[in-house]
Symmetry: C2
Subunit: 201 residues, 2 copies
């Protein structure tokens, strides 16, 4: 199933087609494909080229590692993520490597890497679904994260599957229309909340 964005202005098809499904096919993701996803993340921009992004990854076929990562999710997410072929956890280094000072853009740059990975996934016929619903302390403990690192988001990755296989409530959510705020709500010029003339406002 695909759910292209009902865009107001033209956007590249990879951007319009990217979305966050819960229905994934029961098909493993090839190592070469995963390499391209991480390669895409790798070339994202970051503050001082710090590249604060890290990923814990488990394929479903590797039951031990998959269960370990799955155990960090809230029950509401675990109930459908148990069926995805690849599960990841993004992790941010919160300090700069060279001087140990706080990196104000650590989460921001992890977000940039994952958004870039999501575009590459779309280009290769896959989709990702990020989740805030997981237990950061459990990740920290189970994977012995060093003090400067922070778990950011859980990420399901795979080829699209049949929404009919989802639980009823999620099946319904899968088919709901995609919604976003209009540009006038978040683009301003001159003063806060002042509609931008730059975009023809």
């Amino acid at each position: 199933m695909e759910k292209p964005a009902p865009a107001h202005y033209p956007v590249h098809e990879l951007i319009g087609r990217r979305w966050s499904p819960r229905a994934f096919a029961d098909r493993p993701v090839e190592p070469a494909v995963l390499c391209s996803l991480f390669e895409a993340a790798r070339w994202a921009a970051s503050s001082s080229n710090e590249q604060p992004w890290h990923f814990l990854v488990a394929a479903k076929a590797d039951t031990t590692e998959f269960e370990r990562l799955l155990s960090c999710l809230t029950p509401g997410n675990a109930r459908w993520v148990k069926d995805v072929p690849v599960l990841m956890m993004s992790v941010a280094r919160m300090t700069f490597e060279d001087d140990g000072k706080p990196n104000r853009h650590a989460f921001h740059d992890v977000g940039q890497a994952v958004a870039t990975l999501a575009i590459e996934a779309t280009a290769l016929g896959l989709f990702i679904h990020q989740m805030a619903g997981f237990y950061p302390d459990k990740v920290r403990e189970l994977f012995k994260l060093p003090a400067d690192y922070e778990p950011v988001a859980a990420i399901a990755v795979g080829y699209p599957g049949d929404p009919e296989r989802l639980p009823d409530d999620l099946k319904k959510r899968e088919r709901q229309p995609r919604e976003r705020k209009p540009i006038a709500d978040f683009v301003f010029t001159g003063a806060w909340k002042q509609r931008s003339t730059v975009v023809g406002g």
Copy 2:
């Protein structure tokens, strides 16, 4: 000038071509193009679909607004950003709209929106350059940001220009090779720092 990523694994050309130049052409960015950039940002993923991203924008032709935004940059950035056709500031809403609780992924999701905008820019022949070197307090004061909002990054936007027009030190930086950590440094399975078998490690 373009500077494609020396990638280890194949990535989509829009991802490989995206980079952060300082040399921009002396050519305005059309309103329709800016609309497509914000449209791309609009369709990024965000935690609970909160869409915490906002943008303050000024075109160089609008001298008053451009100077106002430019005055928030550190001198090291202002000296070259003064020549770019469009300057933006990304701003994050740090709390959820419905209950006012802190949004742990506010910066993360602004990063996702801007990374998506950067891909759309590349597709339309433009580039963006984000900067951490600006004065958040000055932005907050000049644009009267409400308490829950935080300036995130300054962003130069435009068509690529001639590096020869940059100051000598920046001309040199513009031509330096692009570098990233190898995948083995940031993708792990089972334990922290343990090379992932999922990517053939």
